[in-house]
């Protein structure tokens, strides 16, 4: 069995900044360094330009919404839009709905995936190869293909406009990807550790619970985060299953917003900033682990 290309340890605790291939012998010339920095600054500007624009628009006073100026802090900047979306609109409700749905489904998804992945990593059983192939194949199914049957199924079971249907659908859709990632990670943990525990009197499942799971905390965290982000950013499932005002998630709410207040695009911008900040912070905080999660699970040389 060949290990993953990027050992999970590189990601969990990023390998000491080796400085890449220029760390050792030669160093870059000053001119080359300047070109590199200029290129990276340009790339960073392109990456964050829309973000800066949104922040700027969110702070514009109502009578200057369509100005064609690009300063980060607009003339007459005001935080009125932030106050407005927080206290005068349903934004808090949408965020709350998204949070409840997302947390619930991420927990269920993680529980289901972590046990199945264990079976795929440590047991040989009939149907194992087929199972893994089917899990991969599910990643190829266009989302639009499942939306119609899921919608009809939800109508028949009277699960539209209810969080029951949403939680079930959201938690299961990310299970295949989670299983692949966790299985890849489990396989990098030496099986001898569990065998030692079994010699000491643990059953095999106890060894899984007491040895493998705690050792896999980083991978479990990544999978939880993946599921959380996927559910948090879901638009189409909510669009077909939810239409009642009380139950809207934030992606649906924002849409309403734009139709209702066609010209209030500073409110939309303010809401976008408020929604993005926690997600971006969470993402940046965990992005080192995200990489190792993808590579450890998906990449086997």
């Amino acid at each position: 069995m060949s290990g993953p290309v990027v050992p999970p340890t590189t990601g969990v605790k990023p390998a000491a900044e080796s400085g890449g291939r220029h760390g050792g012998g030669r160093t870059d010339s000053t001119r080359k360094r300047i070109v590199i920095h200029l290129t990276l600054i340009l790339a960073a500007l392109i990456a964050i330009f829309p973000v800066l624009r949104v922040i700027g628009v969110a702070m514009r006073p109502g009578n200057r919404l369509l100005d064609s100026e690009f300063s980060l802090i607009p003339p007459g900047a005001t935080l009125e839009s932030f106050r407005n979306v927080l206290f005068e609109t349903d934004l808090p409700l949408w965020l709350f709905n998204s949070l409840v749905l997302t947390t619930g489904s991420a927990v269920v998804g993680l529980l289901i995936a972590s046990t199945s992945a264990y079976a795929f990593a440590r047991y040989k059983f009939p149907g194992r190869g087929v199972g893994l192939t089917v899990l991969l194949a599910t990643q190829l199914i266009p989302a639009a293909m499942l939306l119609v049957p899921l919608y009809i199924l939800a109508v028949q079971l009277k699960l539209t406009n209810s969080f029951v249907g949403m939680v079930i659908a959201l938690s299961v859709t990310s299970v295949p990807f989670s299983i692949w990632i966790l299985r890849g990670y489990y396989e990098t943990v030496p099986v001898e550790l569990e065998e030692a525990a079994q010699i000491d009197g643990c059953s095999k499942l106890e060894a899984f619970w007491r040895i493998l799971l705690p050792l896999s905390t980083p991978a479990l965290a990544i999978v939880f985060l993946f599921n959380f982000l996927a559910a948090w950013n879901d638009f189409f499932l909510a669009r077909i299953l939810i239409s009642k005002e009380d139950l809207l998630t934030w992606p649906l709410g924002l849409q309403r917003f734009q139709q209702q207040f066609q010209t209030q695009w500073n409110d939309l911008a303010a809401a976008s900033v408020l929604i993005s900040i926690p997600v971006v912070a969470l993402f940046l905080y965990s992005s080192k682990w995200l990489v190792s999660g993808v590579t450890a699970g998906g990449v086997k040389g």
Partner: protein
Amino acid sequence: MSIEIITNAIRQVGLTLIAIAFIVAVLEGALYFFLVRLLKFRYAIPIMLVAPAAVGLSILIVYPLLWELNVSFTKMSLRNFGDPGFLGLAKGWFVGPENYAQVFTQPVLKLTSFWQLLGQTVLWTVSNVTFHVLGGMGLALLLHRKMRGKGIYRALIVLPWAIPQVIALLVWRTEYNFEFGAVNQLLAKVGVAPIAWLSDPFWNFVAMIITNVWLGIPFMMVIILGGLQSISADYYEAAEMDGANSRQAFRHITLPLLRPVLTPAIILGTVWTFNNINVPYFINQNELETSDILVSALFREAFQYNRYGDAAAFAFVVFLLLLVFTVFYIRITGSLKGAYE
């Protein structure tokens, strides 16, 4: 936002979680009784471990696919709406393989044929993945060195991946506005005439690609950067000693050693781009058929035109297309070798 709404939401989600736990417990209990106690089956434990996922996926993926397959042989639509039953036979909706034939002979929506959509999809996928890989590779190579501000550059460049996609797309759509959008205002500053990004077929397609390239480069960059870090510096030192220049080192060391990381990332990126429905849905605001790709046409055929039978057949054609491509690609590159051991 009232207390009543909040408690209702928490109660619904809580009850769902309890119900799921209960169903899993019953399932596991039954399996334990039959497989372990009665049959003393060798593979009882792995089956018990896999059972919840298997049941969940059967209900939410396998059953819907079978339902879809069934509908694809009927003329179910808004006019013929309801439970079709087996192949729609009882209701006289059965049309045999006609829907599949129509995919190739009639316009999928109003104007555009399957073949044109396929062309648009190939163009969309190839140009996006190419720019993703080239951009990601370039940035990763620049960042993979000892330098000041490396962490800051990385964090800023990763931002498009981190922002919730719905928000990013709403922002881009607004910025493509003919009069008030930032894109045209910036172009005006360098003396370029404004472009009708949202209504001109050609420029709308370009706008979709620009947006998606912006969205997708960070993922490739992060993956490639991870791959670069796993390559030992010893190789480069040895190559340098043998007199190789940096271009030769890239071609003979970096590229081959990146392949195990790059190939799966390209497969994943291709599948994601092919199946990307968010970008066409949000950026193609005026519903131009020339900006549709296969999956966005599929969504509209089902949810706007309500031609469920046609859409089901179309869905299977699209899915098979992607499946065949992926199997071939995996075979050729051998990228999943070892995954089943």
